[in-house]
Amino acid sequence: MKLTLKIWRQKDAKSTGKFVTYSLDNISPNCSFLEMLDIFNEQQISQDKDPVVFDHDCREGICGMCSLYINGRPHGPDDAVTACQLHMRKFSDGDTITIEPWRAKPFPVIKDLMVDRTAFDKIIQEGGYISVNTGGAAEANNILVSKVNAELAMDAAACIGCGACVAACKNASAMLFVSAKISQFALLPQGQIEAKERVKKMVKTMDELGFGNCTNTYACEAECPKLISRSNIARLNREFMCAKVI
């Protein structure tokens, strides 16, 4: 395959970035998208040019590190996959591919396509846990969980924290991310005791960090590589209302 790449290049957080156009040839359609970028970088280095920086690690769709905005969509044109699971056969010979970083105020660009997502860690630090110390836990089967709730909790817990929901949202809202964690614990008996404090603190932190509000366009759900449902946002709203009112 022969491709034209329009890649966002930005020296560091303070510099102004811009799109730079490159051409790339001899790409196998069986190559993954990130392997295509590896080949591009090998070419850059051999021509004494700066390789493009992008985050990636497990390359099997579970670590949540890859974060590319490809042709106007987080993680690119394939549904329910991360960029590392996207393959070049989803494109055509001669295509122009535009590659950008996540664009959201709480995710500042570090360099090129790499952004800082520590805002997500900060939200979790505010209450995305059950306060239990090591060693103090009761016998596991003393806590019974209905199979239905366990499955729903797992659906929510499958979030990989990649940030595609924020990147997809016109408001840069982190509601899908926050609601996935809130839902996981709201559905389990272990999570009840701290539920009110948890939702208040996590929502407050989310707002303080500059994430926007949800205006129900559901772009987050459409782009989530793990198919996290927007119904979690409804549950988050319910939990939040209850915590505030009751």
């Binding site: 560091d12 004494d48 985050d55 690690d57 670590c63 860690d121 596991a140 797992m154």
Partner: protein, 645 residues
């Protein structure tokens, strides 16, 4: 050669750990606040250790190279976690979990450590459930179990095919709570470059801030390395791209012994290599072998036609197929252990019967089971894996057989530790896959998650405290101390040396070359001649690397190629040690298969007379390693041959 002291407590096996805990030294709360601990790595072992130590009141600093601690590669573990709960009432016990692990490791693991692992396994499940890990449940609300390789009982707890993810997020949540409380300080996008030793004790690390490129000095009264395994020395593996062995290699160079480096695990069912641009391999869960049949064509010309795209698998008639596992192992068939299945597939491909574009693949066929059970049953059991396969290979595995090939997956070898998980450097500990102690020569499925969390939640909080009880009079040291300055200077010199090479070839070029040497000569089937050849080739490649590697950019900035070069430089040295250890071990056991040492039926032939020991290597300069032996004494288990026919 000296004997190593593993500090195993006296007394009967089943009471050793209790005895240890009853008599260990403690640190009072006021003193805990004055003691600093450094943890390197945020996977299951590192995150759980840091969270637990923070809860206890110690000051913890934790480091990871990723953008967030939640990304550590423990997250990719699929299958499950073992524990001896005996919920299904099928006869499980702590002893049975212990025994299966020792036997599964082909009698090359340390009894006392493995017994403790089985002993704390139940508390891990309790802990994780309390954290809100959404394990699979029965309709009555209790926890569900499934069976896994190497055991006759169902003792595996799981959260769909994402057990590693859920356990890691549990540990990450506990860690996050401590970060908020201020007991743990997180350093993401930081890489440990070296350990600092002051008067014979580990007292800190030199870390590189990967964004600014600046080197930093960090003090700790003790240091824990939980940086994972070294499978990426093979370039292609199921590990993450960033998984590296630099932390363990640097502590090895400072005096921590490296144990059984040749014990590497090759997983039989991975998606095959499809081109030289490939960057990593994807695992297909071994559960697929319950319903899939593995075969290659009987005739070489059929295999060749398939390789050239002229003959499809479905067009090869039944009587022209060789179900080689069923043929060779009629009793276990497709369900032989990982090492046996991997070697058999390689044997067929080497003999010219491999399929797919590269000829390095065999078929895993579900046609028979779809016919017997119906497609919906197969879909229910393996739907997510079939989908993953289709995304990567672009072929429908319900209609065409999957193509699979073995890939490097896990490393049982690692830093030598004693019963307290302390390395041969005082005050330096190693946990999780980074140490060697529990899996012997072969790890059973669902045991890696168990070990990582056992080390972090339930072993280090005791043993580290025991060590630190003797350090309460040591005040925090200034990182201006000569030892810190010197260590930083050495790191700086090494990085400058790398940058100054300005050669012709990229880092990946060298890493791929190293991977090829390792895979061809130090992979599934090893011989004396090939191992010797590997050592020679690695030395040559290493010399070339230090002359010809090309790293763009500068030192004091975000420089991904420099990070990679630094790791590959260490892999280049480590590959030689793996080959040397394999050469030294004149026997076959578990994942280590020396072709010279096999039974008439092609099985592992152990030599308990001469090799029932842990090979712990000491660094004596580049390419110069001294062997120390820790004899393995089996008091509880009878050492036997494993048979699968």
């Amino acid at each position: 050669m000296s004997e190593l002291n593993s500090k195993i407590p006296a007394g009967p096996l089943s009471s050793k750990w209790t005895q240890y805990k009853n008599h260990q030294n403690l640190v009072n709360p006021n003193n805990k606040r004055k003691l600093d601990i450094i943890v390197v790595g945020t996977g299951l072992a590192g995150a759980s250790a840091a969270a637990s130590l923070g809860e206890m009141g110690f000051n913890v600093k934790i480091f990871c190279y990723q953008d967030s601690p939640r990304r550590a590669h423990s997250i990719a573990a699929q299958g499950g976690i073992n524990a001896a709960k005996n919920y299904p009432n099928d006869g499980d016990s702590i002893y049975r979990l212990f025994y299966d692990t020792i036997k599964g490791g082909d009698y090359r693991a340390r009894e006392a450590n493995v017994y403790r692992l089985a002993e704390v396994s139940n508390a891990i499940i309790d802990q994780c459930v309390a954290q809100g890990v959404p394990f699979a449940r029965e309709y009555g609300g209790s926890l569900e179990n499934r069976s896994f390789g190497g055991a006759q009982v169902s003792r595996t707890f799981f959260a769909r095919g994402q057990t590693g993810q859920q356990l890691l997020l549990g540990a990450y949540s506990a860690l996050s709570r401590q970060i908020k409380l201020g007991t743990v300080k997180m350093f993401n996008r930081h890489e440990m470059m070296d350990v600092v030793i002051v008067e014979g004790k580990a007292r800190g690390i030199i870390a590189r801030d990967l964004i600014s490129g600046k080197l930093e000095r960090h003090f700790g009264h003790a240091v824990v390395v939980a940086s994972g395994g070294y499978a990426n020395v093979f370039y292609l593996s199921t590990n993450a791209m960033g998984s590296n062995a630099s932390a363990i290699w640097q502590i090895f160079k400072k005096g921590a012994f490296f144990a059984n480096p040749c014990f590497t695990q090759i997983h039989p069912t991975c998606i095959p290599v499809h081109g030289d641009y490939q960057s990593k391999l994807t695992l297909m869960s071994e559960s697929l072998r319950n319903d899939g049949r593995i075969w290659v064509p009987k005739k070489k010309e059929d295999a060749e036609a398939n390789r050239h795209g002229k003959l499809k698998a479905n067009d090869i008639p039944e009587d022209a197929r060789d179900y080689f596992l069923e043929r060779r192992y009629p009793a276990f068939g497709n369900l032989v252990p990982r090492d046996v299945a991997s070697r058999a597939a390689k044997e067929r491909c080497d003999a010219g019967y491999g399929v797919g574009e590269t000829g390095l693949a065999v078929f895993l066929d579900f046609k028979e089971s779809i016919g017997r059970l119906g497609r919906h049953v197969i879909e229910e059991r393996y739907g997510n894996l079939f989908q993953m396969y289709e995304k990567i290979v672009d072929e429908n595995p319900y209609e065409n057989p999957m193509m699979i090939y073995p890939a490097v997956h896990y490393t049982m070898g690692g830093i030598w530790v004693d019963y307290e998980l302390m390395t041969s450097i005082t005050g330096l500990f190693a946990a999780g896959e980074a140490n060697f102690s529990d899996h012997g020569a072969n790890r059973l499925g669902a045991s890696a998650l168990m070990q990582g969390l056992a080390d972090g939640y339930f072993v280090l909080p005791y043993t580290l405290q025991n060590y630190l009880a003797g350090e309460i009079k040591v005040p925090r040291m200034s990182t201006g101390k000569a030892e810190f300055v010197e260590a930083q200077k050495n790191v700086q010199l090494r990085l400058e040396k790398l940058m100054a090479i300005k050669g012709k070839h990229t880092v990946d070029h060298f890493h791929k070359e190293l991977g090829k040497i390792m895979w061809e000569n130090v992979g599934m089937g090893r011989t004396e001649a090939r191992l010797k050849k590997a050592i020679e080739l690695i030395r040559k490649l290493r010399a070339e690397f230090w002359k010809e590697v090309k790293i763009p950019g500068t030192l004091n900035e975000l420089n991904v190629e420099l990070e990679k070069a630094n790791r590959v430089a260490d892999f280049m040295e480590m590959g030689e040690l793996i080959a040397l250890d394999a050469l030294n071990r004149n026997e076959s056991c578990g994942g280590h298969f020396r072709e010279e040492y096999q039974t008439d039926e092609g099985e592992c032939l152990r030599n308990d007379q001469d090799y029932k020991y842990v090979a712990a290597w000491e660094y004596k300069g580049e390419g110069n390693f001294q062997l120390h032996k820790e004899s393995l004494v089996y008091e509880e288990t009878e050492v036997k041959q494993r048979v699968y026919k």
